[in-house]
């Protein structure tokens, strides 16, 4: 049961790794998950997920500064079940805090892949949408959803925490409605995403999927 390795024949190449490193990383392909067979259970699960949003404490851009006030007395995101989590394993929400430089993108991908599904991505600010003021920067990606699926955009430069709270509540609604399937989307279009990622990230020294 614990040694379940699915689709062993369809493994990833992990060509970014040396031969020696190949054996140190898993080469399994990520798997999409189905909703629970019983609708009520799935709804209940979605309700629980929506009301317990654990945000990965990874400030990826200038927007990270807007995340901090969320926990303060003024905004108190705890009310909505939002909490910060220092490890991607336990987080369910990844807030892309504004522009994503290529260097950061690599780390974002890695952390995202280490999160366990269902997982949600909020793109904060205008930069993940079209590059914003960094649209012609040599080291910033312009369309973030080319690289990872985004469940919710909160535009602005920078959006204030109020907007972020509003966005979180919007995300909760989407989750409850069962519309947030970014994780499955990523798995289903894995090769496309991966080739996009590899196009911009030149020094690809990690496995194709960071389990």
């Amino acid at each position: 049961m614990f040694k379940k390795t699915l689709n062993t024949e369809d493994t990833l190449k992990n060509s970014g790794l040396t031969d020696e490193e190949q054996q140190l990383f898993s080469n399994a392909r990520p798997q999409a998950y189905e909703p629970y067979p019983i609708k009520a259970v799935e709804d209940f699960a979605n309700w629980a997920r929506a009301n317990s949003l654990w945000i990965l404490a990874f400030g990826t851009g200038c927007g990270a500064i807007e995340l901090r006030p969320l926990m303060t007395a003024r905004f108190d995101a705890n009310r909505f079940g939002v909490a910060g989590r220092p490890t991607p394993r336990q987080s369910s929400v990844f807030v892309i805090g504004g522009y994503a430089s290529v260097k950061t993108l690599k780390r974002i991908i890695r952390s995202y892949e280490q999160m366990q599904g269902p997982k949600f991505v909020i793109a904060l600010g205008i930069c993940p949408v079209n590059g914003g003021m960094y649209f012609d920067s040599y080291n910033t990606v312009n369309q973030f959803d080319q690289y990872l699926p985004v469940d919710l955009y909160i535009t602005g430069c920078m959006p204030r925490p109020e907007v972020l709270v509003a966005g979180i509540m919007e995300l909760q609604k989407k989750i409850k409605a069962g519309e947030c399937n970014g994780a499955n989307l990523y798995v289903e279009n894995f090769d496309w995403y991966k080739s996009n990622q590899k196009k911009v990230i030149k020094n690809w020294d990690m496995p194709d999927y960071n389990w």
Partner: protein, 1082 residues
């Protein structure tokens, strides 16, 4: 004309020795001219006949013939010179002649080059015979001079520069000594009018006034100087160092024997000086052995040992005469003397044929098993380990001295013996060292023919034979004490067989032997027999995992295991001590077989910088083995004195009468307890333990820790039972013992926390666990003892598992540092599981068996009111978690090294015993009543049973404990969430990932080495309380060693090599004796 038979009869009289020596001696040069070989034949025939004469006459005396007084010149003494051939004389002459014959054999290549050499040799032997037999004071002088001149000439024949220089010093010294003797003789004659010793003794009232005083002093000084007392002995040492082995051996044992016998003869007129003689002897013994520590020249080393031994003999004879205990002379003096005679002679010959000047170069014999065995036998004999004569003699001596309350002398003798063991066995260590040698150019391999070894081999055999005879004389009826040795010998005979075959034969033999040895036991002994013999065989089974042929391992292992069996059987303290020493010896040799053979200096400096692995890897088992032997000997000496104290009170050797020791009980108990504590590795005396456990063979460490250490516990329980409970001594020694135990536990645990080396970690852990047991025994209550025994069984179980699994890990990884391992659970899941279970059992976490021990232990501590000890015990068991987790984490969990990815599971042979032990752990965990009932019945004869059972629950004054129920509840509490988790896992897609698939702060790990958190694991703990575990004990013992060596170095400043200084010392010796004995007052 006399009939032929009469001629032979007369010829076979002791006088025949002289006739033969002189007659044949002067014939030899003639024959030599005709034919060299026939001269040699004549020479040997003469020596042989001398032995036969001595032997036949001795036999006659033993068979009841009266003491033979041989008169010369047809006139009765005192008007003529007479010789005496009694029991002592006969034995001495026979022994000396035997050594002379063997020595001649050894020295033949050199002897046969000159007819004069053959002649001188014969004259020398005859001189010694004369010194022993003559009863005439002046005749004695003549024989001394004959011997001396022959010696001078033989020394002079070796025309080396050093030899000649030493020879001249020797002549100067001995001629002054004999001048003294001659002067003394004359004055004695002046006062008594006779030269016959018997007459002089009869008329000793005539030896009075200043003249009598000076006369006896002259004689005494002359003889003592010949025995080379410190510091007037530099000349003797120079000769030992430079003379060829054949001659040095004869001077060391033959001439000394003659002079010693002469001293013995004149002792009756030396009443005044007995104390001085004793002090001189003791002083010389102690100081020589001190200085021996600094000595690296092989033959000079033997010289120091030789002088020391003669000092000991002098001391003992003076004491015996003073105590009027001449009945003990044959056993004590005889035993020590024969021991010295054969062992020392053999060693001198061995030194000669190996021909390595510096003891550090003796590694050239490391590949010669026969030479090594010979060296080992002779050294063992010299140090006085069983079964050799020295052992019996030392036992008798200590018992006698103790019954006379002469503990100062006992201390001196034992310290001296220990020092002697240090340098002798250090020599053996160098010899055993395979690579070695500090000298720049590597010494060539030794080539020794088989023939050359025969004389040495014969001395070894003779030592065994005499030892056996001695044990018969000492009324050791129980011949079974020799069984381990015989079994070991038998196994040794098949040592050439395939390793599998011989190990199976060994296991079978030990099983059968052990069964028959232990089947009649009962009580505590029976319990321990299961543990030591059954457990020993079970753990020994794991030794099969090795494929190399392990020469010597199985014979020694069988000796070890069977000596444990005889230890359990022992009815008397002598049998106990015999088995104990045998166990120490065999385990020392087994430790020395440790495999890790790299170049190192096997000095006795302790400790090492464990953080510095480069240096560390160069250590092999030899140095720890030596330390182990020394601590074992120290432990044995404490035990010896403890038994002696008890013997002085009770007058017999039976263990069950230990309890009647009366007022000596506390002292005896303390001494014995110290002895056993050393063996267990108690606080402060533990430094040998980690080193030995770390460096011994991995499978043997398992035996050492799980089985052999229990012998110490057994001893402790036995003395606690006999001395502690029955005699009902005051609490104080037991309370101190309790503290020692708990400090051992605490510091063992703390030390283990900071180890990087897996074996050291487990070793310290073992030490810590034994600490609880010691405290448990010290409790002297029923519950305390049950807990102690229960923990003993547990300790056997989990330490067996741990060391065997560690052996498996080391076998596979070829590493001992934990930070170089990691993640091995993937390769060795079974080993991991066993280790984990053992560790849970050890930690005392319910439901496994360790909890029961801890529970009973705490209840017993609370019952007794030892609250502080209880608190410390609690602390140390918490600290234990640190190292236990570290062991599992850094070896089996965490990141696996790249080079370890292909490792296989440990061999099945290692896993089988572990599996069996695990099964036992589970049975005991679930139904501890099985074990506790057995323990309780064993203890009931000593302390009345206080255990209360309510169904499966055990009740104590404070608490209660229901093991099966606990087991069931915990199983339930464990299984329920597991099922829950498995159910939820069904709803998920669970991906098994690899070791680098971890959250790494959005980065990826680069190397397992960087990612595995293992080195200096408890750095923070070290920062917090590390200061309490800085190796103070090691530093202390190193300081002791350093100090001893410096002291030894300062003691030998007198030996400046100048013959005149030596002559001055001789004169000052006389002056000193004169002043000390009140010369000015006369």
């Amino acid at each position: 004309m006399v009939a032929t038979t009469d001629t032979i009869d007369i010829f076979l009289q002791p006088l025949g020795i002289y006739i033969l020596a002189l007659g044949v001696g002067f014939l030899i040069p003639l024959v030599y001219r005709v034919n060299r070989n026939s001269a040699i034949l004549v020479f040997f025939t003469a020596l042989l006949i001398m032995i036969v004469i001595a032997g036949l006459n001795l036999l006659a005396i033993i068979n009841g013939a009266s003491v033979m007084d041989i008169e010369t010149a047809g006139i009765k003494p005192p008007f003529s010179i007479n010789l005496r051939f009694g029991l002592f004389e006969g034995a001495c002459v026979l022994a000396v002649n035997t050594v002379a014959l063997l020595g001649a054999w050894h020295y033949l290549p050199r002897l046969k080059q000159h007819a004069a050499a053959l002649l001188l040799y014969l004259i020398l032997v005859m001189g010694i015979n004369g010194m022993v037999m003559t009863r005439d004071l002046f005749n004695l002088f003549i024989f001394i001079e004959i011997t001396s001149i022959a010696t001078y000439a033989l020394i002079g024949m070796e025309r080396t520069a050093k030899g000649l220089a030493a020879g001249f010093k020797y002549i100067m010294a001995t001629s002054i000594a004999s001048a003294f003797y001659l002067l003394g003789t004359i004055f004695i004659y002046y006062q008594t009018g006779t030269l016959n010793i018997d007459d002089i003794i009869a008329n000793q009232q005539l030896i009075i006034g200043p003249i009598g005083f000076i006369a006896t002093l002259f004689i005494l000084t002359g003889l003592l100087i010949e025995l080379k007392p410190y510091p007037a002995n530099g000349w003797g040492l120079d000769v030992y160092e430079t003379a060829p082995g054949g001659i040095a051996s004869l001077i060391s044992v033959g001439v000394s024997a003659g002079v010693f016998f002469a001293l013995y003869k004149v002792l009756p007129i030396m009443d005044l000086y007995l104390t001085s003689i004793a002090f001189i002897g003791g002083f010389t013994f102690l100081i020589s052995n001190f200085i021996g520590l600094k000595q690296e020249n092989t033959k000079r080393l033997l010289g120091y040992s030789s002088i020391g031994q003669m000092g000991l003999l002098t001391l003992v004879i003076a004491l015996l005469v003073q105590l009027d205990a001449s009945a003990h002379i044959p056993l004590i003096i005889g035993g020590l003397f024969i021991n010295h005679l054969f062992a020392k002679a053999g060693l001198f010959w061995l030194a000669a044929i190996v021909d390595r000047k510096n003891i550090k170069d003796w590694s050239s014999i490391a590949k010669h098993p026969s030479l090594l065995i010979l060296l080992c036998i002779l050294l063992t004999a010299l140090v006085g380990l069983p079964p050799f004569p020295g052992f019996w003699a030392k036992w008798e001596l200590v018992m006698l001295l103790a019954s006379e309350q002469l503990f100062g002398w006992i201390t001196l003798i034992l310290i001296g013996s220990l020092l002697e063991a240090v340098y002798l066995f250090r020599w053996f260590s160098y010899a055993r060292n395979v690579e070695s040698s500090e000298s720049v150019e590597k010494p060539a391999e030794v080539s020794v023919s088989f023939l050359q070894q025969i004389p040495i081999f014969i001395t070894g055999l003779l030592l065994f034979a005499i030892a056996y005879v001695m044990s018969r004389f000492m009324n050791v009826d129980n011949q079974l004490i020799y069984f381990p040795l015989m079994a070991g010998f038998a196994i040794w005979l098949i040592d050439r067989l395939n390793v599998r075959v011989k190990s199976l034969i060994m296991l079978l033999a030990v099983s059968i032997g052990g069964y028959f040895l232990t089947k009649d036991l009962e009580g505590i002994n029976k319990l321990f027999s299961y543990l030591l013999i059954g457990g020993g065989i079970l753990v020994s089974f794991a030794t099969l995992y090795r494929h190399d042929d392990r020469k010597g391992f199985y014979p020694l292992l069988s000796v070890l295991l069977l000596s444990l069996a005889t230890l359990l059987r022992a009815q008397t303290s002598l049998e106990f001590f015999f088995a104990w020493e045998l166990m120490a010896l065999s385990s020392y040799l087994l430790v020395m077989l440790g495999r890790n053979k790299q170049n190192c200096d096997p000095g006795i400096r302790l400790g090492n910088d464990q953080k510095n692995d480069q240096k560390y890897n160069q250590i092999n088992a030899i140095k720890p083995a030596l330390i182990y032997l020394l601590f074992s000997l120290a432990s044995a000496y404490f035990i010896l004195v403890g038994f002696a104290v008890s013997y002085s009170a009770t007058g017999n050797y039976f263990l069950f009468s230990l309890g009647d020791s009366g007022t000596s009980t506390t002292l005896a108990f303390s001494l014995l307890a110290i002895g056993f504590i050393i063996k267990i590795g108690g606080f402060g005396l533990h430094i040998w333990l980690p080193e030995v456990y770390a460096e011994a063979d991995d499978d043997f460490t398992a035996i050492l820790s799980s089985v052999v250490s229990k012998a110490g516990i057994f001893g402790l329980i036995i003395i606690a039972a006999h001395l502690g409970v029955r005699a009902d001594i005051g609490l104080n020694p037991a309370y101190v013992l309790g503290w020692i135990g708990i400090l051992t536990a605490t510091f063992g645990a703390l030390m283990a926390v900071f180890q990087e080396d897996i074996k050291r970690l487990v070793a310290y852990s073992s030490m810590g666990q034994l600490g609880y047991i010691v405290t448990g025994v010290a409790l002297m209550s029923h519950l305390g003892w049950v807990s102690a025994m229960y923990m003993t069984v547990n300790h056997f179980l989990f330490k067996g598992i741990l060391f065997l699994s560690v052996a498996g890990v080391i076998l596979r990884t070829n590493e001992r540092f934990m930070y170089k391992m990691g993640g091995l659970i993937k390769n060795m899941p079974v080993t991991f599981t066993f280790t984990m279970i053992a560790i849970i059992a050890m930690s005392g976490v319910p439901p496994l068996s360790g909890y029961g021990g801890k529970w009973m232990f705490f209840n017993a501590l609370m019952d007794k009111g030892w609250y502080w000890i209880a608190a410390l015990a609690f602390f140390s068991s918490a600290v234990a978690f640190l190292y236990m987790f570290r062991l599992l984490q850094t070896v089996f969990l965490g990141q696996r090294k790249l080079e370890h990815r292909k490792l296989r599971e440990a061999p099945v042979i290692l896993l089988i015993p572990q599996g069996i032990l695990i099964a036992i752990i589970f049975v005991i965990s679930a139904y501890p009543k099985i074990l506790i009932d057995v323990i309780s019945t064993a203890i009931d004869p000593w302390i009345s049973n206080t255990l209360v059972w309510k169904g499966t629950a055990m009740q104590a004054h404070y608490g209660y404990w229901d093991a099966p129920l606990i087991m069931a509840i915990i199983a339930g509490a464990w299984i329920a969430p597991l099922i829950l988790l498995l159910l939820f896992a069904k709803t998920m897609k669970v991906q098994k990932v690899e070791q680098f698939n971890i959250v790494y702060a959005a980065e990826r790990p680069r190397r397992p080495e960087e990612t595995h958190f293992a080195y200096n694991f408890y750095a923070h703990y070290d920062r917090a309380i590390g200061f309490v575990v800085r190796p103070r004990a090691t530093a202390f013992w190193n300081a002791v060693i350093e100090w001893t060596h410096s002291f030894a170095a300062s003691l030998r400043i007198f030996y400046n090599g100048n013959g005149q200084t030596y002559a001055l010392f001789i004169i000052m010796y006389f002056v000193g004796l004169f002043l000390v004995n009140g010369g000015l007052a006369l």
